[in-house]
């Protein structure tokens, strides 16, 4: 197991380097955005003197390099600074939003991952049957529709026409857990539809890919029923690609849901990030992007470790 530990350490170190590069990239990008923060804050009705005053107040009169290093030294010691626009701590601005995003992501994942894997196994069992074809077509249609459009269609049928679920998922502090699940069902369902197809198809492909292997043929010749062949013989060896695609989709659930948040008015990080970009609020943009990047790196690492642990050949390299 020592190999795995050293792999994790190495990857974590590389991850930190990646984050550093990203922070430079994002800083540069925000600097290059047309318009500036003072203009964005004061809007159309600002005079040049106002703008200059506000810029000075925000410390924007210093050169970019100075500001970046100022931010970097803070960030290394765990202080991500204050929002340029509101002056609030970045952590207190992002914190509650991040919790919301994580909640929605885990809600969607809790439905999507088991469902996708079970469906994937089922369609692999019944491959080339009508069931397989129909599932395939539905899955492809789901991933080919723009997310905001899926959201609108779900709102139309499950909210406007039938009134089963609320169309907007506004959260209140004193909601019970069941109420919370109910109010956020539609955004969660949209995300389930978006990510499920990819995972299901990959599960199916990974299993079918193995069916031509000699050992599967051997099992079948021994007379093992075909569901047992798939669940006990093929699935364990197909886990590595499945874990990979699950990790990729989990990352997407956390980082890629801006549009779903907009459609359902869900107070998550994505919306905050888009707002911050339009206001050029660099500390917020930076912190959000780094959180997203870190999520992605960690999930990827988890996927790699997972595939090593599930594959004895990788676990004990020659």
């Amino acid at each position: 197991m020592g190999d795995v530990a050293s792999l994790i350490l190495k990857r974590l170190a590389l991850g930190v380097v990646t984050l550093f590069v990203i922070s430079i990239l994002i800083f540069g990008a925000v600097e290059m955005l047309p318009g500036d923060i003072a203009q964005a804050v004061l809007g159309q009705s600002a005079t040049p003197e106002n703008l200059a005053a506000l810029r000075e107040q925000m410390g924007l009169d210093q050169p970019a390099i100075v500001r970046y290093f100022h931010w970097l030294t803070g960030a290394i010691s765990g202080d991500f600074g204050n929002s340029l626009v509101t002056g609030e701590r970045v952590s207190s601005t992002i914190g509650p939003r991040l919790l919301n995003t994580l909640f929605l992501a885990s809600y969607a994942a809790a439905i999507a991952v088991p469902l996708a894997i079970i469906l994937g196994i089922l369609v692999a069992l019944a491959r080339n049957s009508v069931f397989d074809r129909v599932a395939n077509i539905l899955a492809l249609t789901a991933i080919s529709s723009p997310e905001f459009f899926l959201g609108y269609v779900l709102i139309l049928y499950l909210s406007v026409k039938t009134g089963l679920f609320p169309a907007i998922s506004s959260l209140q502090g004193d909601m019970s857990f069941g109420d919370l699940l109910y109010r956020t069902f539609l955004p969660a369902l949209t995300m389930v539809l978006v990510v499920m197809a990819h995972m299901m198809r990959m599960t199916r492909a990974a299993i079918i890919n193995l069916l031509a292997s000699p050992y599967i043929e051997m099992a079948r010749l021994k007379g093992v029923p075909s569901w047992k062949v798939i669940v006990f013989h093929a699935l364990p060896n197909a886990l590595a690609p499945i874990i990979n695609v699950v990790a990729l989709n989990l990352a997407y659930l956390i980082t890629g849901v801006v549009l779903v948040e907009v459609v359902f008015v869900y107070p998550g990080v994505g919306q905050l990030l888009v707002d911050a970009v339009s206001k050029r609020d660099f500390p917020i943009v930076q912190a959000c992007c780094l959180i997203f990047a870190a999520t992605f790196i960690l999930l990827n690492l988890a996927a790699d470790v997972g595939s090593i642990l599930t594959n004895p050949r990788l676990r004990h390299p020659k």
Partner: protein
Amino acid sequence: MNYFVIGFYALLIGSSCLAAYYQKRSLFLLLFTLTLVCFLMGIIGGQPALWFVTVLAGIIALAAGTSYAWREFLVLTLPRDMSRALKTAPLTASFGLFVIFIYAVMGIFAPVIAPHGEAEVISSAFAPADANMLLGADQLGRDVFSRIVYGARNTVGLALAATILAFFIGAIAGLFAAVRKGWLDQIMGRGADVIMSVPSLIFALLMLSIFGTSMLVIVVIVAIIYSPRVYRLTRAVAGNVVVMDYIEAASLRGEGTGYLIRKEILPNSTAPLIAEFGLEFCFVFLLIAGLSFLGLGIQPPTADWGSMVRENATLISFGDVTPLIPAGAIALLTVAVNFVVDWMLFRASGLKE
């Protein structure tokens, strides 16, 4: 109970019995399950539900018939080696090829096919469909059908260009990294990590805000966003091929890197790349549609399916299907592409069951 309902069930039950009599086991199962489901739907939804099933069956039959005829047509007209491969193609793949063909014709001959200009205002806003306008008018009174036809050219062209560019960048980088290894591999690997770690929509949002939203910029940025995924896949696949004995033999023979990539590695790693192409194409499409949703898509009045969905999306709350048409066009194409990809993958995997 009227004649339609009686005839509907009679036909279903009759054909189930026929299938049973002629020992077509799977056909019988399918038909009889359908019968049972229809009983249930008839009870819950009444006659409209049965109509729905009939129309759906009709559409599927029509699609299947078209696919069958199209496959036969291709088999007869194409050269021998290609027609042999096509003979065994499933109907879904043939359907996919048909749709792609239609879209290609639509895109290439858009000005000839479209009855009106892309930006031409010809009637009042949201005018209903008539003989002159097949699908009615949009919010400015432009012909929706003409815009869909032009959209095939613009949207598909853009997505295709971006996907091809992404593959070009990603695959070349991946192959080089796999062959050369060493620091080049490391640097490109980390670069790919960086781009992949930033959420794609945000990355695109930042870049498009900086560089503006011309077609070229969109293509390049989308290609940059998606190339790391291709890179990683190519690197992994080619990495497996590179360690094979025949590669070693070739490199001992003194063949150069270019030769190795072109003649030895690429032919042996195309299957997963093609499969990826289908999916990436979907993702690129969706990213561009998402960007349009946030107001950063293709310049107006250029017709683009993504913005056509966005412009009319609110109508759907009132049960108007206008926004469904371009969304359906997007979905149909991606489904078609993936059908073809599935078939190619099946052929390449060597799994012949």
